[in-house]
Every structure is written in structure tokens, then in C-alpha cells.
């Protein structure tokens, strides 16, 4: 069996739901599309759909776990809604690079802004945490973000279990700064009048 072609196909199967559906409907056609011979396609028919689907699901769960660690306040705010929101986002494709999990978390935060059902205070929280990730990854940093909520108050309410109360809207500027590569990342908040 051509290992390169098999790996190219299986890697795509693991991350692409539409391709998986097509493959298990017509394995031969999809395999030939990836350059496998008819004989190799026939061998790949032995791939277990249950196993492949299980592995694909585990990949998304792994990504979800990493994002949960990187956006802990957002994860707490979204609570039971997080998995469904993330798995829908994850269908768009797998992140790349050494810092893939941070990239994934930042992209998910961006995605939440587009989801109408997610309250604005949660998207603000997600943007805040994603901005911190961006600042943390930089050797030197000067990053400013504007938010429409009093984020410290939002976080206090969240951690006290009081996020049912309406969050206070307050225009806020947050500045992350690390002037030198070895310096500490510092964060400053300014309330705008």
C-alpha cells in the first residue's frame, strides 16, 4: 500500500467530517481521488467507520480540553454550551503550528463574536482572554484592546456564581505591555468616561 497516499487520506479523514461521510459511502471513489490504486482502495475498505469516527471525535475533545485550559473564564461562562459551540467551530479545520492550541483558542474567541446566541459579556470575556494569550506569546508586547464591560466586575460575578445578574457596561481600555524580552507581562486597565 502507498504509505504516503494512505497517510494523506487518513489525516484528512480524521479532521474532515464531509470527507469521512463521502469515504464511507464510496471508499473506492475517495481513495482513487487521493491517488490510491483500486487494490489499495479495497484494502482501505477494512477501515472501521466506528474507529475512525471515534478517533475524529477524540481529536475534537482534545482540542476542546486545550481551549478550556487556555480560556478558563470563557469556558466557565459558557458552561454546558461550550462543547456544542466549540465542536461546531472545530469543523472548520484543525489548527497548525507549534502554538496550535493558542491559535485555536484565539480563533475560537473570534468565532464566538459571530454567534448570535452568545451574550456580549461572554464574547468580551473571550476577547480578553484571547488578548492575554496573544500578549503572552509575544517576546515584546504593546497591545491595547477596548471592551464595553467592566471586566473585573464580570469576572467577580462569574467566580461568585452571580453571572445571572446583568453585567455592568463600562467602556474599558486594557493595555498589555512587555517592553523587553525578559520582562514581565504587565496589564493595565483604564475606564473611559
Amino acid at each position: 500500500m502507498g504509505l504516503r497516499e494512505v497517510q494523506t487520506l487518513t489525516a484528512r479523514l480524521y479532521v474532515d467530517r464531509q470527507l469521512r461521510n463521502r469515504f464511507f459511502e464510496d471508499c473506492t471513489a475517495v481513495a482513487e481521488q487521493f491517488g490510491l490504486s483500486a487494490e489499495e482502495a479495497e484494502a482501505l475498505q477494512l477501515l472501521s467507520q466506528e474507529q475512525v469516527e471515534g478517533f475524529a471525535a477524540s481529536l475534537k475533545r482534545k482540542r476542546l480540553g486545550e481551549v478550556r485550559n487556555l480560556l478558563p473564564l470563557t469556558a466557565k461562562a459558557l458552561a454546558d454550551a461550550l462543547p456544542q459551540l466549540f465542536f461546531a467551530f472545530a469543523e472548520r479545520g484543525a489548527p497548525r503550528g507549534i502554538a496550535r492550541h493558542a491559535v485555536d483558542a484565539i480563533a475560537f474567541s473570534d468565532h464566538l463574536v459571530t454567534v448570535a446566541s452568545v451574550p456580549a459579556w461572554i464574547t468580551a470575556l473571550a476577547r480578553y482572554e484571547a488578548s492575554y494569550l496573544t500578549a503572552q506569546r509575544a517576546s515584546r508586547c504593546f497591545l491595547i484592546r477596548r471592551f464595553d464591560f467592566d471586566l473585573p466586575q464580570v469576572v467577580r460575578q462569574l467566580l461568585d456564581g452571580q453571572h445571572g445578574l446583568p453585567p455592568i457596561r463600562r467602556k474599558t481600555l486594557v493595555l498589555w505591555i512587555r517592553p523587553t524580552a525578559r520582562g514581565r507581562l504587565r496589564c493595565f486597565r483604564f475606564y473611559l468616561i
Binding site: M1, G2, L3, R4, V6, Q7, T8, L9, T10, A11, R12, Y14, V15, A43, L44, L46, L47, S48, Q51, V52, G54, F55, S58, L59, K62, R63, G65, A94, P95, R96, G97, I98, A99, R100, R137, A138, S139, A181, R182, R184
Partner: protein, 300 residues
């Protein structure tokens, strides 16, 4: 776009190139028992460094590191023997290993100067898709040829012994030409690399895929295994999985004991990644593993 190593070559019809000479196991130091280093454990390790004999670090955490992260690594290196454990070299990829990743990994390993380092018998990247996890390889002669070729390329860049870890596999790749024990033995013979035997992964695979783990052990020679991983097992329905989040069950302890009895291991790492219990509980598991090594004469 990811660059692909130019060393990739057509392996169709490639012949087995025979046995590669391996560095004698007796030249590798006995390290003892340790932990996979994770940030939540940092404070406890600072306060109780005597609880571990060595640490295993995830190499990828330090490849794109800022100066503060590198300073953390240097502080660890000064206090502990560190074994780098890489994740994304994709040694089983027929496309070859990614040269920029290899270059950065080689620099990290030189910085750490370990007695050995480790990677996985898997692929993580193919056709410009980064799967984000360790994917299974078919147990075929072609796979062995790919591993041999990739490891030769790695050896040209990294002059430190490499050991190879068995992974859990949820997908059984069709077309297997040999059973798992034979495959691991052939890996040792063809690549010149010894093994990082993940006892938990072996246990999980043996249950999920219904085979006797002893069959794998009996296919290997005592000097084939340098280091072990172990941790508790997660369950999802009737399947086991490696969540690295659970205390070690008796079935894993029994297999660990059997492995340490058979193989001249130099080190054992408890690989707990999440849902950390008290540090005392982890130290208790380390103590039990250390005692197993002592009982089988692996260390004092």
C-alpha cells in the same frame, strides 16, 4: 506552508536494509523514577525536589518559547536530569520529517544535553494536514523502511540516543504484516533505537483490541526497553483511553511489575497531565514504582 524534508524518497519496493548497530544499553545511566513535568507541579517540585530522580519535559513546550520560558527550562536543568519528549516530529510520516521542526528540536536537545530523548511511533502530519494527535501506523515493512529513513535523518541532526514510544491506537490500520510485538522488535533492529515502553498504552491497546500484552513483551529482548511511562487509565463506555488524569489501577501496576521484571529499564516516568491529585498522592505512586524497580534489581 509546511516545508517537507527533501530526504523523502519513494519507498515502493524498498528492501530491508538490515540491522543497525545500537549504542550498548550499559552506557546509558540509570535514572530511577520521575514525573512528566507540568506547570501545576512546579511549586511542589521546587519544595520537594528529592521526590523525583529525574523529569521528562515536553519538548514542544520549549520550541517556540520566550526568554522567560527558556529561563524556566534552565532553572529545571540546573536542578534535575531532564529527558526531552517530543510530540510532533512525525517519525512515521512517509513525507519525511519537517526540517525546521527538527532544527529547533536539535537545538533544544543540545541545550539540555540529556542521556537520551524520546518520540513516538506515529505520524502527526500528512498532506499539509496537522492532525494534532499521534496517528497509528500500519505494521508493515514499508512503515519500517520509512521509520528507518526518517530516523537516519534525525540522527544526522541529533547526536543523542533516541528512544521510541508505543502509542494507543483507536484505529486499527488495515494491511498489517506482523503483530505488535514483532513490529516493535523490528523497529529496534531496523532503526537502532530502543524503546520507551508506555505500559499504560500497552494495557489499553491489549484490552481495546483484545490481545495478550505478554505476547508483546515476549517478542522483545531485555535490553530493548530503556524507559517506561505509566499512569492510570480512563474509560469511555467499554473502551479504555489514555486521559493521563487518573490514579494507577492495579491492572496497570501488575503489568508494570511484569515489565520491570523482564526489561533492564533505566527510568520510569509517571505521566500525569491533568486532574492532579495532592502531590503526596503522586509521590506515593512514584514510591511504589521505585520499589518495584528496587525489587527487580534495576536500582538501589
Amino acid at each position: 506552508m509546511t516545508e517537507v524534508a527533501a530526504v523523502a524518497a519513494d519507498v515502493e519496493g524498498s528492501e530491508m536494509t538490515g540491522v543497525v548497530k545500537t549504542q550498548p544499553a550499559s552506557t546509558l545511566p540509570v535514572l530511577g523514577v520521575g514525573l512528566g513535568y507540568r506547570f501545576p507541579l512546579r511549586q511542589s517540585l521546587d519544595q520537594h525536589p528529592e521526590s523525583v530522580d529525574f523529569l521528562e519535559i515536553i519538548a514542544d513546550h520549549y520550541l517556540d518559547a520566550n526568554p522567560r520560558k527558556l529561563a524556566e527550562l534552565e532553572a529545571l536543568r540546573c536542578r534535575f536530569t531532564l529527558i526531552p519528549h517530543a510530540i510532533n516530529l512525525s517519525l512515521g510520516s512517509a513525507e519525511g520529517v519537517e526540517p525546521r521542526y527538527l532544527t529547533r528540536l536539535a537545538a533544544l536537545i543540545r541545550r539540555i544535553d540529556p542521556p537520551w530523548w524520546s518520540e513516538h511511533l506515529s505520524f502527526t502530519t500528512a498532506g499539509e494536514v496537522e492532525v494534532g494527535h499521534l496517528c497509528p501506523l500500519p505494521r508493515t515493512h514499508e512503515t519500517l523502511a520509512v521509520l528507518q529513513r526518517n530516523i537516519e535523518a534525525v540522527r544526522a541532526a541529533v547526536d543523542v540516543p533516541l528512544i521510541l514510544e508505543n502509542i494507543t491506537y483507536g484505529v486499527e490500520m488495515p494491511g498489517a504484516e506482523m503483530r505488535e510485538g514483532k513490529f516493535l522488535k523490528e523497529v529496534v533492529a531496523r532503526t537502532g533505537c530502543r524503546l520507551l515502553l508506555d505500559v499504560t498504552n500497552l494495557y489499553i491497546n491489549s484490552v481495546n483490541h483484545r490481545y495478550d500484552a505478554r505476547e508483546v513483551l515476549e517478542a522483545l529482548s531485555p535490553e530493548d526497553v530503556v524507559q517506561l511511562h505509566f499512569v492510570g487509565v480512563g474509560t469511555r463506555g467499554d473502551q479504555l483511553f489514555d486521559d493521563h488524569a487518573t490514579a494507577v489501577q492495579e491492572e496497570v501496576w501488575e503489568l508494570l511489575d511484569r515489565v520491570v521484571a523482564r526489561f533492564a529499564v533505566k527510568g520510569i516516568i509517571l505521566e500525569r497531565d491533568q486532574k492532579f491529585p495532592s502531590f503526596n498522592e503522586l509521590v506515593g505512586e512514584l514510591a511504589r514504582a521505585r520499589q518495584i524497580g528496587r525489587e527487580h534489581g534495576r536500582w538501589d
